[in-house]
Symmetry: C2
Subunit: 247 residues, 2 copies
């Protein structure tokens, strides 16, 4: 029940590619044929193709055709390029997971947090610290800060389940854009204490800034991962070099 026509076409094509109905390295039918098949304008079809190209399914070749460059891959722990909650990730990978809330507090933004997150100093926030267990091992420590104004009525009980589900299904706030940064840091004593680090002296830190559909910042999160269970995938396209090529 996709609302938009281009999205229905996108899903249909993606399904066929994933089913290898259009196999790896083959050329798609020409745009004109596909527009006939889907009964749409060329622009509408091209929008679906553009989406698939961005996501690494297709490679268009001017004057020749559109090549399929998708191959089925192993399941991965985390996806880049889409926003996904922890609950959605484990569901997609059919894992058994438990979340434990170790801190739930109402605070006000201090100087340091403001400079990290972009929240204004003094803005009321929910501070939540959670540990994620997969198959009994403590693998992720999440520290979330939500705007109280934009996420009212948050409780420790909600945090134990899925904050994102609460935000979207109960508050009907649409989550739109996330800016993310990934680094590696030496484990703190609190990391050692709460996570099963298995000899690793470091953690993978994923910092998130999340904006709602109004373009307002409503969440800042630090996710600290046990390194062995961390994986990101991504598709990138080459545009013109950001800096004039230094020869």
């Amino acid at each position: 029940m996709p609302k938009a026509k281009f999205e229905g076409i996108y899903r249909s094509l993606r399904q066929k590619i994933e089913a290898q109905d259009y196999p790896y390295q083959s050329l798609l039918p020409a745009e004109n044929e596909l527009t006939c098949e889907y009964g749409c304008a060329r622009n509408t079809l091209r929008r679906a193709l553009a989406e698939l190209t961005d996501q690494g399914y297709l490679q268009p070749i001017q004057g020749k055709g559109v090549r399929v460059i998708y191959r089925p891959a192993g399941k991965t722990a985390f996806l880049m390029g889409v926003i996904e909650s922890f609950q959605e990730t484990i569901a997609r990978n059919e894992l058994h997971a438990v979340t434990k809330v170790v801190r739930f507090a109402a605070i006000e933004t201090n100087e340091r947090l403001a400079s990290q997150s972009g929240f204004l100093v003094g803005e009321p926030l929910w501070a939540i610290e959670r540990v994620r267990y997969l198959d009994g091992k403590a693998l992720i420590r999440d520290v979330n800060y939500f705007s109280q104004a934009m996420v009212p009525g948050l409780t420790a009980g909600v945090a134990a389940h899925s904050v994102y589900e609460y935000i979207e299904k109960t508050l009907h706030v649409r989550i739109a854009t996330t800016k993310r940064k990934v680094t590696v840091e030496r484990a703190t004593t609190r990391d050692e204490e709460l996570l099963d680090l298995d000899g690793y002296g470091s953690v993978v830190v994923v910092s998130n800034l999340t904006f709602n559909a109004d373009g307002l910042l409503f969440e800042y999160t630090q996710s600290r991962h046990q390194p062995a269970f961390f994986c990101f995938e991504d598709t990138a396209t080459r545009r013109r070099p950001a800096v004039p090529p230094n020869d």
Copy 2:
């Protein structure tokens, strides 16, 4: 100069946003005003806006306007979402870097490599191993495999400079799409031997599959990073806002 009109508009807008001519959290002029200003059709403008939205500069709000969600950030070691060579990265960050080639060989794809990379067993490849020094410290160990058929005439001398520049400027092959995976692994003895790990027992591993403009695989690379100097940034969107390839 940009060939396509939408790209000129894209650059102009991005420049104004980065200069905070359109500041963080403000609304852009309406699409109709901007089409007047740039003397283009609405679809052409919208294509530029879609690009900026994908890259985390803008958040469009139906019925209201387009909000700027870009804020200037600290310089980072590596960018996600775009393909960038090591040479381009250091130029962008104004760093002093040295590349040392520790291995350069012509090989044929074996079973293990084929399953990792997708090259066919027996396909002739160039195998290159390089160590990247930033300000005198050995921080990255790259292991590249290039298709000999698609990258003929490669030499150790070229590898010491920039293979990407050779590929694009000399061979005139256009690099199009990269699929990337990021994980953390325990350091091998060769990592310890070649890199300045500074007490870290692990490395960040970035695996790349690169396709040329014909949709053919021509490179497989493993980049092993000293964890302290690894960073990437990314912008993700939930559901999908817009990507009109309309024009």
